[in-house]
């Protein structure tokens, strides 16, 4: 069974610093998809970034980038030049193929606080 582990329940950094959130997963599949979602205090669930396992290049979206290490089954999220609006719960998720669609397997989340 696939599992997703986020070992940092809470982190805090100063505004403008760089922060890295860790995520490891376990799967026997060779091709799969990984995601980071953020959930700010409004509790809206927002897609941050996605990575396809067969792509060796790490995904990047503006200040957000991932370090995808397939052999180590690691998928960390780096936030550069952090902003107050980055304060949120961050969930790592593994997308598991089902019969006719996909199912997300979620980590427990990391609460990130950006301090002014």
């Amino acid at each position: 069974a696939q599992t997703v582990t986020q070992s940092q329940p809470e982190m805090s950094v100063q505004e403008a610093e760089t922060v890295t959130l860790s995520c490891t997963y376990d799967t026997s599949e060779s091709n799969y998809y990984l995601f980071w979602y953020k959930q700010p205090p409004s509790r809206q669930m927002i897609l941050v970034i996605r990575q396809e396992a067969y792509k060796q290049q790490n995904a990047t979206e503006n200040r957000f980038s991932v370090n995808f290490q397939k052999a180590a089954k690691s998928f960390s999220l780096k936030i550069s030049d952090s902003q107050l609006g980055d304060t949120a719960m961050y969930f790592c998720a593994f997308m598991k193929r089902m019969d006719s669609n996909y199912q997300l397997i979620w980590g427990a989340g990391t609460k990130l606080i950006i301090k002014p």
């Binding site: 998809y33 509790r43 996909y102």
Partner: protein, 116 residues
Amino acid sequence: AAGVIQSPRHLIKEKRETATLKCYPIPRHDTVYWYQQGPGQDPQFLISFYEKMQSDKGSIPDRFSAQQFSDYHSELNMSSLELGDSALYFCASSLASGRADTDTQYFGPGTRLTVL
């Protein structure tokens, strides 16, 4: 760009009452997912629909039922409500294609259900 719409945004019910939550997916999306998220928890998958047929079932109580209609909107019906049903209920939609960029799940703002 159009997003997933959920209604109502907030709902207060008494124990043993019924509730109906509605979800309108992103236009052209054919797959809808329902999740339940308790305070401080990751989302728990309830049920999903693809092309108006139930495609996968998670930890949905027997008191709950759902369906997807011809216009692809979905409704989650909850009966005999219990205090423990108080949670944030998310709907997400995607376009089934076998590719991560379209099978990516996009979430609505959620319906906050409070059972008194």
